[in-house]
Amino acid sequence: MTPLLFTLLITLISVSAGLLGSLVGVGGGIIVVPALTLLMGVDIRTAIAASIISVIATSSGAASGYVRQRLTNLRLAMLLETATAAGALCGAFLAALISGRWLYLLFGLVLIYTAWSMSRKPSHAAGTLPEDPWADRLKLHTSYFDKALNQEIAYRVSRTKLGLAVSYVAGVLSGLLGIGGGVLKVPVMNLAMGIPLKVCTATSNFMIGVTAATGAAVYFTRGDVQPFIAAPVAVGVLLGAKLGSRLLGHLQSHWIRIAFVLVLLVSSLQMFLKGLR
């Protein structure tokens, strides 16, 4: 392995991580961390720092495209982000008190259950959602133009309080286990709150960048962000995410659902491996 080959390979792998991450609303960590540690022998601390950079790159690379296409529900994102940011703070403190082992196993199980419920959901959501005075008051209901269906899709937001609770838990877990909260936020927005899948992906994409930014700033000041490793990761992921943001609007929702379920299964496998180690 030479520096040039490393840079080219990692850039290419990162393009795929950015593409996948921006399409399903999670950070590219599940691709970037194993590629760096298992394939290239980068130590875990440096790999995690690079992976947090990749989460921000996924978010920022796709964000302008998603905002322009009105796929991001900015109000919902900001509301849920209060819970996630508070959760992440608590999680960072709890990390000193709780051993990660059984949490990884528990979270692995939660992800398998989530994968199962996401795979059962039909693409066209049946509209029997309870009225939600919170969502009415906060004016969370809106619409987007679906390029794949070629029509304006209006949607209503339901169960805002449940969404806030799950976002808080997602924040705690990201502080505790260093995982992005996207794998929890996308399912709760889609299954419980009744939001179209593409909007969930784009809205989660906004939030993971904000949550990751504080973590990244800490790693940066500690000197864990290595230019040699983080630069090709960032460049690749930014390009991949840009590509993803062009694609998402045109894709049929069921393809995104399939990709998301696969991401959930791979993440749960990684959680089990960490817990059993």
Binding site: F6, R68, L79, A85, A213, T214, P227, A234
Partner: protein, 140 residues
């Protein structure tokens, strides 16, 4: 962006979303340029990634580095003026890290301009939580 919108106060919302998306686009673009130029310079200049002729020895030396060079303003400026690759990559990474935070900050202003008090407050809470966790993370 040229699709019909059915929400109330659409023009404000669209203008705000446009501002945010432009900000992000430029932040990301500048960061991408800095990262690419910096990386290319690291390869071109013999002192950086190619001390041993760009071989496996260089790769292992670079992996063994456990601390990034100091990113002080003075060192960075000096590095940029001398076209040192890593001195150009670091501000690129820093700008990338800053884009989501800037986005939240701009959203506060946008909600205030929209006279949306509830969301101006919600967004301010997010911003303060970000600052708080950054301050605590640095201390701990």
């Amino acid at each position: 962006m040229n699709t019909p919108a059915s929400t109330t106060s659409t023009s404000h919302v669209l203008r705000m979303e446009w501002i945010i998306s432009e900000l992000l686009r430029w932040g990301v673009f500048v960061s991408l340029v800095l990262l690419t130029v910096g990386t290319v310079l690291c390869f071109v200049r013999s002192g950086d990634y190619g001390q041993a002729g760009g071989t496996a020895a260089d790769f292992h030396r670079l992996l063994a580095q456990h601390h990034a060079p100091p990113a002080t303003f003075h060192a960075t400026l000096h590095g940029i003026l001398h076209l040192q690759g890593e001195a150009i990559i670091l501000p690129g990474l820093l700008l990338l890290i800053a884009t989501p935070v800037l986005r939240v900050a701009v959203s506060i202003v946008a909600f205030v301009l929209e006279k949306d008090r509830i969301f101006a407050a919600i967004t301010t809470v997010v911003f303060l939580l970000l600052l708080l966790s950054f301050a605590l993370g640095k201390a701990g």
